[in-house]
């Protein structure tokens, strides 16, 4: 027990310093640090405010339908589903791909205690991420109630237990995947393949559960959300624990208790099944299998055209060959569009052509500018989980001095990193092309405009996050998952993505007059050009000042 507590505390400390956004100003002068902290605080508040505002608007819609309770239900469901989906990648990497296994194995602490400490650290980061989504929704919902004390009292255990069941499932699945892949000769590829299979299977199940039948015309959206056989209710009944949590919060003490009990039991079972074998499994995961052939390699076979090309190739190899980055960065960035695509295509196949035609009819009545704005929003939405630019310098880790000693300008290094992550943005947007083509009756030039606009817009978070990371990278990490997740820089991508989206939405709404969306579209285009151009100009303007190793790097 003592070993567990010590380890958990150490990991918690590591997480807190890694995730403290204001820690980055530690070594600045006091007055400068204060100003910067305030600026950053404002950005954070703005991002949080945007999330709360979006929930507020949604709440208004739900209230007009008399379905206030759906808001907390929805956020809880989303939180659990996200923990299940992205949590798998994170737990494979966090539990089994840390380089720290060998170090931990030397300590006089049992496998179960080490496992428990690791799970605790995963649990806590889930909890923190749920906070800004669940709590505002719960508060909004509570404004529609007269009694407050009891729901609040029920909310506390529900909130605390919310990440537990997904974590139990995900840790069990990742253990099984590690065991399964250990029989394979080429373990890394097999593990990646299995993870993708799991992801796709999961999404297919979700879309099967949630298939909405016979939605028609104007009411389609409202029915999807709120009706008895609508999307939300189907999802909730497809995943009962989420329904227990939601209903437990809203009214039922017993369902709350059931939810907490089931979560706890699930965790206990998962823990008992895997805890003892955890350390041996993690250790064996650290053994690399080498497939490289013996003998002389072709030295000059693959000469790069320029230093930039060589750096891009290096960057891609690092991403594709490091499983943590492949799962959490690359695949994690593709989850959103793939989910949308699977959801739409399988949903549609069940609704049949009638549904499609009706959808087209609904959208067909909208004018072209609005359609382009909607499509731009959809494409932009898919570019966001890409955390790669925000951690591109951090990921260099301790060999950053070596990179800096190479005879290229910092701007060239940053360009290589930026290009690679923009290509990934492009990739996720391309996947989204399928559902967009299916849904929106856009002419080709409209589609191209939306695609280009969204891509341009996605440059803003990428360039700005890259700048933030180059400014203060986290270089002294021990495991790759720390570089990605226990690094506040990576959350900048989310924050700046939200800021970009909010700025655009505000502009579009401000310019919207008497039903004509053309000024809004023009405003959106100006926004995209200003934001992306501005952030790029800033990045390259500052690159000269980032030429040296930042001394305040962690």
């Amino acid at each position: 027990m003592k070993g567990y507590l010590l380890l958990a505390r150490m990991m918690l400390k590591n997480t807190i310093t890694g995730l403290n956004p204001f820690d980055r100003f530690r070594s600045d002068k006091k007055s400068k640090a204060a100003v910067k902290s305030m600026l950053l605080g404002l950005v954070l508040l703005f991002a949080l405010g945007s999330v709360v505002y979006a929930e507020y608007e949604l709440f208004g819609v739900l209230r007009s339908m008399g379905q206030e309770a759906l808001l907390p239900a929805m956020t809880m469901l989303m939180a659990m589903m996200a923990s299940l989906l992205l949590g798998l990648f994170q737990s494979i990497s966090g539990l089994y791909q840390g380089r720290d296994a060998a170090w931990l194995a030397v300590l006089p602490v049992s496998s179960r205690q080490i496992y428990a400490a690791k799970l605790t650290s995963l649990y806590l980061s889930d909890l923190v991420l749920n906070l800004p989504i669940i709590i505002p929704a719960a508060v909004l919902y509570l404004t529609s109630r007269t009694d407050l004390i009891l729901p609040i009292l029920r909310l506390i255990p529900i909130f605390l237990f919310l990440p537990v069941l997904p974590l139990a499932i995900v840790s069990l699945v990742s253990y099984l995947l590690m065991k399964l892949s250990s029989f394979a000769r080429n373990r890394e590829t097999v593990l990646t393949g299995l993870s993708i299979l799991f992801m796709v299977g999961y999404m297919l199940t979700v879309s099967r559960i949630s298939a909405v039948s016979g939605a028609d015309g104007e009411e389609a959206v409202a029915r999807m959300l709120a009706s008895e056989d609508g999307l939300m209710n189907k999802l909730l009944s497809g995943f009962p624990p989420a329904r227990w949590a939601a209903q437990g919060f809203i009214g039922s003490f017993w369902l709350m208790l059931l939810f907490c009990l089931v979560s706890a039991v699930g965790m206990a079972v998962s823990f008992l099944l895997t805890g003892r074998d955890y350390l041996p499994t993690a250790l064996s995961a650290g053994e690399k299998t080498h497939k490289g052939g013996k003998g002389r390699a072709a030295v000059s076979a693959s000469r790069a055209a320029s230093p930039l090309a060589a750096l891009i190739r290096l960057e891609i190899r690092d991403l594709v060959r490091t499983q943590t980055y492949l799962l959490n960065g690359v695949l994690g960035g593709l989850v959103m569009p793939i989910a949308l695509m699977i959801g739409v295509s399988s949903g549609m196949s069940q609704v049949g052509n009638v549904g499609k035609n009706e959808m087209s009819e609904v959208f067909g009545q909208l004018d072209l500018s609005l359609l382009i704005i909607i499509a731009t929003g959809a494409f932009y939405l898919c570019s966001f989980i890409n955390q790669l630019p925000a951690t591109a310098v951090s990921r260099e880790g301790r060999h950053y001095p070596l990179s800096l000693s190479l005879p290229v300008r910092q701007s060239v290094r940053l360009t290589a990193k930026l290009l690679v992550s923009l290509v990934l943005n492009l990739l996720s947007m391309l996947i989204l092309l399928v559902p967009v083509l299916f849904f929106l009756p856009l002419p080709l030039h409209g589609l191209l405009a939306a695609f280009g606009l969204a891509f341009l817009l996605s440059v803003f978070p990428a360039a700005f996050c890259l700048y933030m990371d180059a400014r203060r990278p986290k270089l002294n990490w021990m495991t790759e998952i720390d570089a990605l997740k226990k690094n506040f820089n990576s959350y900048f991508s989310l924050i700046f993505w939200i800021v970009g989206a909010a700025v655009c939405v505000i502009t579009v709404l401000l310019l919207f007059r008497n039903g004509d969306f053309t000024p809004s579209l023009i405003g959106l285009t100006v926004c995209a050009i200003v934001l992306s151009g501005g952030s790029l100009a800033w990045l390259y303007h500052q690159a000269g000042r980032l030429e040296f190793l930042p001394e305040n790097a962690d």
């Binding site: 080498h290 052939g293 002389r296 030295v299 090309a309 290096l314 001095p401 190793l549 305040n552």
Partner: protein, 246 residues
């Protein structure tokens, strides 16, 4: 030629400089050994030289070019073997050499010839197609050295290069450093192994607390302090640990 002129480095808000007014000149074709206790400032000096860090004040010149003014030109002249074991682990040894050759613009024929020569010399051909993450400590050190030599730099900088090398590899590396110096290359390295410094170096510098305490040929230093060995000189100059508040 390498010149440090009043080079000073203060890290962040630290009160004492990690490198204090360093003045040092290393001629072409000279093997210079940089000695000093842990935390003396050796790596800091090397980082200023390789353009990884900017000096707080003073200048560092490589063949007359100021590192600060034209860092890329200086970096192109340097082959650098860093002190840490961290490198591009996901590449195979051969991919790493190819990458370094690409960055420094080495022609296909040259890179092939040099890679073959050095891989053979350090007996690394068999591992060249495996990822560096599977290398042992010494193997990483070797591939790092080969990567630094692939563009035949006029200045060869090594931070504690002997760490982790087996006796044979260590011997080969010393031979190579001498051979490079014979060709007119400036060799600048830090080490804790005093015998290596004594045998290999044309010049040594001893540094402690960021200050250069002595500089000269090993014989000069011995006769100046009247000590029998470089080890004794080192211990005398750096206070042999007793009055050290490290």
């Amino acid at each position: 030629m390498i010149e440090f002129v009043n080079a000073t480095k203060v890290y962040g808000k630290s009160s004492s400089p990690a490198l204090d007014q360093l003045n040092l000149r290393v001629q072409n074709g000279c093997v210079f050994g940089f000695l000093g206790p842990n935390g003396a400032g050796k790596t800091t000096a090397i980082r200023l030289l390789t353009g990884v860090l900017a000096p707080t004040s003073g200048t560092v010149l490589v063949n007359g070019t100021d590192v600060r003014e034209d860092p890329v030109a200086v970096k192109r002249m340097i082959g650098f073997v860093p002190d840490s074991q961290e490198m591009y682990e996901r590449l195979t040894g051969m991919e790493y050499l190819n990458f370094m050759a690409d960055i420094y613009g080495v022609s296909s024929a040259d890179r092939k010839a040099r890679a073959e020569k050095y891989l053979d010399m350090f007996m690394l051909e068999d591992a060249a197609n495996e990822r560096i993450q599977s290398y042992s400590r010494g193997m990483k050190q070797k591939i790092s050295v080969i990567g630094a030599l692939i563009h035949q730099p006029p200045v060869f900088v090594l931070d504690e290069p002997m760490v982790g090398l087996d006796p044979k590899a260590s011997f080969l590396l010393k031979e190579e450093m001498r051979a490079q110096a014979q060709k007119g290359v400036t060799v600048f390295f830090s080490t804790h192994v005093l015998e290596v410094a004594e045998k290999l170096c044309d010049q040594v510098g001893i540094i402690n607390h960021g200050k250069l305490l002595a500089q000269g040929t090993p014989e000069e230093l011995r006769s100046r302090t009247g000590d029998a060995s470089l080890e004794q000189v080192f211990l005398d100059l750096t206070g042999s640990g007793e009055d050290d508040a490290e």
